[in-house]
């Protein structure tokens, strides 16, 4: 390992990518609100708005390509995530589900868009906020629909279980509904985006570093880049999948809050 280290690059050794690569300098002074992730969020809102305004402005019976793209995306969220999971009351929740899906998808895909190349959701605060919104939404719906007493009672006490078992089961139910669900929702999205971005950094920066080394290392470099490119396509799948899972689970939690257990 040490000899390899000496062979590589003139001067300093390879600095492996770390969580420091996720910290960006501020654009204006020291404001924390003017960094790359924040700007990407605003950019995503702008892009989404422009896309769907253009896609729906000249809506026609025979759709243009753009209208078709917009409608397919909307139809997917409405039918596969809304109708199939929530059931007959689904239309009320489609705006939220659709916004959530498109927002997360766009921000994830920023991770592989040339020049932008940073998935916003790899900053954990963004997924936290989205998970908190989902948390508030599904509990609010459950309480509105069933009344607070019945809703909490349904969560805490499974029907058809010996009374003694409640000592074991009730804490698990409460922990699941109020802690594990929102936390795993946020952390799953964050961890996938964080790890994915780090993985790409390792191969691309590694390839770049090898290229600056001696001839033997220069020959290895293309393999690192090829891997980086392959992983970029893989990342695209992960980014779509994570946007889908976040929205799917939100829909499932809403469906669970609406359902009468007995």
């Amino acid at each position: 390992m040490r000899s390899l280290h000496l062979l590589s690059a003139s001067g300093g050794g390879f600095v492996p990518p770390s969580s420091n690569d996720f910290i960006f300098p501020s654009f204006f002074g020291h404001s924390q609100y003017a960094t790359k992730p924040i700007l990407l969020v605003f950019l995503s809102v702008l892009l989404i708005s422009i896309f769907f305004i253009l896609a729906s402005r000249k809506a026609a019976i025979v759709p243009s390509k753009l209208q078709f793209a917009g409608e397919s995306l909307y139809g997917f969220v409405r039918n596969d995530l809304g109708r199939d999971i929530i059931g007959h009351e689904f239309m009320r929740f489609v705006p939220y589900l659709f916004t959530l899906f498109v927002f997360i998808l766009t921000n994830n895909i920023f991770g592989i868009v040339p020049l932008l190349q940073f998935p916003t959701m790899s900053h954990v605060s963004f997924p936290y906020v989205l998970a908190i919104i989902t948390f508030v939404v599904f509990h609010y719906i459950g309480i509105r629909k069933q009344g607070i007493r019945k809703y909490i009672k349904d969560i805490m006490f499974m029907p058809g279980v010996p009374k003694a078992a409640y000592i074991l089961l009730t804490p698990i139910e409460i922990a699941t509904y109020f802690i594990t669900r929102p936390l795993t929702l946020a952390l799953r999205l964050f961890a996938n985006m964080f790890a994915g971005h780090l993985l790409l950094l390792v191969f691309i920066l590694g390839g770049d570093h090898l290229l600056k080394g001696v001839i033997g290392l220069k020959l290895i470099s293309p393999f690192a880049f090829a891997f980086g490119i392959g992983l970029t396509f893989f990342e695209f799948l992960v980014q779509c999948l994570q946007a889908y899972i976040f929205t799917l689970l939100t829909a499932l939690y809403i469906a669970g809050a609406l359902a009468d257990e007995h």
């Binding site: 499974m158 698990i172 922990a175 594990t180 799917l248």
Partner: protein, 64 residues
Amino acid sequence: MKPNDDGAAWSIVGYLLSGLLFWGGVGWAVDHWLHTRYFLLAGLLLGAGAAMYLIWLRIGRKSK
């Protein structure tokens, strides 16, 4: 795989995690107070067992 099966899979993970965390946490706390070392293991096992029972109640029983 239908979306609802997907959902079942995710809620199973959620319940197992909550079971382990809560009862494992209780076991850890008891260990901490009594200066013992086996309550953590007992708590984790109890939590995993209880979570599986709960999963069976919530999902297994319903799909019959």
